[in-house]
């Protein structure tokens, strides 16, 4: 790892000030992606700004219509939250499926979505539920947040504070995990809401995406059978040593059907 200076600000304003005075700085959340990246010398930030010094950034609040999760809340905290298990069990199950227990003790929702790994789990929930990302500057709608592989709508120096998930009528998440990393080879998040059904797919393409034809079919009939005849084109999907684009296209149908089954049973 290259040398860097370390800061642990006590307020968001202090963090923003540090970011503006150190243009080559990086924010540190749980560090589950950033620290391995630094260890491989794939990045050499001048400074790390650790967000762990602000208790306000972590925590869960459940209102009548929303689950609000602070950016520094760990995956384990989300997975074991009794309120989230009761109101949005698909999200708790998704958090419990990330990495391994030790990774879940450190990794955070804010870090995950800011990094925007194309095979990460949380992006599927953000887009599948139509969540809102609250930053230190503005609110960003889920459909506008993930823009490309490892790219988001966040501006330089912008800090994620919280994610607000509307509570759906029903939701489910299913993924085919990479057997070593537990990242999604394909993950499907399905949510039935008062405004129709949303389907978001992670792991299959350069960035999370929705499937309009499945959403239309499921809005008419929320059953696994409703998507049985819908073929997913493999054209823009990823091919890598883990799975071909064609196999991923097949897995999208299988994982979406399993997510619907979870939604119907919880």
């Amino acid at each position: 790892m290259y040398a860097f200076d370390y800061h642990k600000p006590r307020t968001l304003a202090e963090a923003a000030e540090l970011l503006s005075t150190h243009p080559e700085a990086r924010l540190l959340a749980g560090g589950m992606t950033l620290l391995p990246t630094l260890k491989q010398r794939l990045a050499s930030p001048s400074d790390l700004i650790d967000l762990a010094g602000m208790p306000d950034l972590a925590g869960i609040e459940v209102t009548g219509s929303e689950v609000r999760i602070g950016a520094m809340t760990t995956h384990a905290t989300v997975a074991h939250s009794a309120e989230i298990i009761a109101k949005l069990p698909a999200l708790a199950a998704l958090a419990e499926s990330i990495g391994d227990p030790q990774v879940r003790h450190r990794g955070t929702i804010g870090g995950s979505i800011s990094n925007a790994d194309p095979a990460a789990d949380y992006p599927a929930a953000i887009v599948g539920l139509g969540a809102t990302v609250i930053t230190d500057r503005r609110e960003i709608a889920a459909d506008d947040f993930f823009t490309a592989m490892f790219e988001t709508a966040l501006q330089p120096g912008e800090i994620v504070r919280q994610v607000r998930f509307p509570i759906p009528q029903a939701a489910g998440y299913a993924k085919f995990p990479n057997p070593a990393s537990r990242y999604a080879v394909v993950g499907a998040f399905v949510a039935r809401t008062a405004n129709g059904v949303r389907v978001a797919i992670t792991g299959a393409g350069p960035s999370v995406f929705r499937l309009a034809d499945m959403e239309a079919a499921l809005s008419a009939s929320f059953t696994p059978a409703a998507i049985g005849g819908i073929a997913v084109p493999a054209d823009d999907l990823n091919t890598d040593p883990h799975a071909s684009a064609g196999y991923r296209a097949h897995l999208i149908g299988v994982m979406t059907a399993r997510a619907i089954t979870f939604a119907l049973e919880h």
Partner: protein
């Protein structure tokens, strides 16, 4: 840039004050600065779990944690669990059920298992196997490790 920064943390109940470079990993601090070589470096990529320690009671991978991130917090390593004369119940269970062959992964296995057992006093083999997702053993095939963790959890509950 860089130089060192002061940190103060508790390690196995002992208050430690030290100067470290911000890039010093916790596992390097434990092994090289404090001489606590029971915590192992296996893969060095946060996958194998040989480096698992407790941070404020929760298991974490010390190869993917900066020492400065542990400032002001409590770290427990395998050296903090028991002694050769009086083994921790989980260590005794690994001994009794032969939950190891070469032993390299064992400190991480035990630290992970102790965190698990604190919340699962009477676990099923499936729960143990799911929890051990983040601990890799290349010798045993896991069978005796799972038996050790089940027995250790029950012994801890009785203790």
């Amino acid at each position: 840039m860089a130089g060192t920064v002061p940190v103060a943390l508790s390690v196995n109940g002992q208050e430690i004050a030290a100067e470290v470079e911000p890039r010093t990993l916790l596992v390097a601090f434990l092994r090289e600065h404090l001489g606590l070589t029971g915590t192992h470096v296996g893969c060095d990529t946060s996958q194998c779990g040989a480096c698992v320690v407790h941070l404020d009671g929760r298991s974490v991978k010390s190869c993917t944690l900066l020492t400065v991130q542990a400032d002001g917090r409590a770290v427990t390593t395998i050296e903090g669990l028991g002694t050769p004369e009086k083994l921790h119940p989980m260590q005794a269970a690994f001994n009794e059920h032969h939950g190891l062959q070469c032993g390299f992964c064992t400190p991480g296995m035990i630290m992970s298992a102790v965190d698990f057992a604190g919340r699962h006093p009477d676990p099923t083999p499936l729960e143990v196997r799911e929890w051990l997702e983040g601990n890799i053993c290349r010798c045993t095939g896991y069978h005796n490790i799972v038996a050790s963790v089940e027995a250790g959890a029950r012994a801890m509950a009785k203790d």
